[in-house]
Symmetry: C2
Subunit: 300 residues, 2 copies
Amino acid sequence: MQTRLVEYFLALEREGHFARAAAHCNVSQPTLSAGIVTLETQLGKRLIRRDRKYAGLTAEGEAILPWARQLVAAAEALGQAAETARGPLKGELRLGAIPAAMPAIGCLVAAMQARHPGLNVSIRALTSRQIERDLAAFELDAGLTYLDFEPPAHALSVPLYVERTMLVSAVDGVAVPDPLDWAGLAILPLCLLHQGMQNRRILDARLAERGLALRPLVTADSYVALLGLVQQGRLCSIIPDSHATLLDGLSWARTHAMPQADEGSRVGVIVSDSAPMGPLAQAVLGVARELRLPQGFRTG
Amino acid sequence: MQTRLVEYFLALEREGHFARAAAHCNVSQPTLSAGIVTLETQLGKRLIRRDRKYAGLTAEGEAILPWARQLVAAAEALGQAAETARGPLKGELRLGAIPAAMPAIGCLVAAMQARHPGLNVSIRALTSRQIERDLAAFELDAGLTYLDFEPPAHALSVPLYVERTMLVSAVDGVAVPDPLDWAGLAILPLCLLHQGMQNRRILDARLAERGLALRPLVTADSYVALLGLVQQGRLCSIIPDSHATLLDGLSWARTHAMPQADEGSRVGVIVSDSAPMGPLAQAVLGVARELRLPQGFRTG
DNA sequence: TATGCCTTATAGAGCATAGCTATCAAGGGA
DNA sequence: TCCCTTGATAGCTATGCTCTATAAGGCATA
């Protein structure tokens, strides 16, 4: 069983295109094409549906997909383990983080690189569900996400901090009642994350408990976009307090406590709980356990 | 990364001998020797300590051992998944079972082969600790063992039956008091399993709670050996009631209830809980869940 | 209808590598 | 000293992966 051929298969599944998959694997198109045929011959099944162009996987192809991913992940882990049997880690650490946790990721990455200077880090902003999915598909080494809501199966986690939310408005913008109650919040002109995003789902759930619903005038998928909207003065937004550090120097922004000191949402590092655990995952968990976040991140 | 070379490495680690490892891999000794060198070159580390003969693994070799096992297990699982994407399983199912559970393994295997006619099954009698170790090393697909004592981590289980023990003696052998109490048990001439075996540890623990200890005159590692000793008439033994079915036709044997209806020990199937779960493990769990054991195996 | 492009498969050559047999070198024991 | 065990080396063969070049089928457009 050639790991290389399985990589061809996975690249083809990702790209949906022979030539692009070949380029991604740094081989020629005929090489990848022949490699797929070889793999199909060795396994005794057709994996790809073709009618003059790529047309998805066969049922057998879909069936072996998880095992193919595990195989290349295992090969990768073996190389990592050999390279780092002693001494610092090398290679690339693939991190996924929810947007709300982005302010914290700098601390985590800095701590990782302090411990392992040769390590490259690749950060992707993802939804919590994408993080879960990509961890299972071995396309991420670790994730930074919520620990309490719909926690993924087969995952180990280390809590880092508790996120609370706050309302932010422009100094010369809409008037925010003080103190703010839930009903008052619901009638404010708001811009929020898209409805599918977990942070938004949590917020919606809190209001739904009280029979209220938010009707944001604008939705976006990034807090930077929300802050840009707030800066215009016409809207308010609700953002995690971890972003407060980013707002410290902003003269135009004003923050308000949310209607009720909510219990907060635990945010932490998760890795796939496979046996044995890869060296990268081990390292991330180890660093996360010892991590001390700066002021502005509450731990309980 | 060549799966083949990693198999060479694992075979060498198991056999501790280049030529034997090569024979086990169905290749010549120089081939395996060169394969190890190639693997060491690709990984950039020496894996084997050599001074004119095999002298164990280096630290790096030990470090990558779990990942090497996972890699070949993943390759194996990929082949299995492709072969059995639809239709019955093929290949070899490697089962480990504690001696006490051997009478039940026939039912499990029969049910597996009824569902998957092409499946070969290889059964090994092992201690519960060996089962746990070999599952982690991907050298077993499933185990039949105790579920309640020192359950292994990273394992999924399905309970099958509850094992209770009974005393067995020869009809014309030593007199057994009726009813039997713990103190009376302790002074009987007994033959039992070796002290390290888990069934024996459980029994010893039960007596230790009452300040008693068994001093068997003979110990063995198989119930057949114990029954042979009992047949001589001089000794009694304590065996699981699952063996009662085997004694049904024996005129020379007499069974006695143990001093106290003990709570019994749950026995069931365990598989390694890795993601994704191999097709063999899935099949064993599925069959075990639907398995109906015959009379003589209590389920609660 | 003809042309051109996009996509995948095929052909043939070159090279790397894994396999074999035969043999050698270094210890260890009789 | 001789012989056996153990692993490494040499030389050769065969397999097979990779490349470039090209063919073939479909689709859009002139």
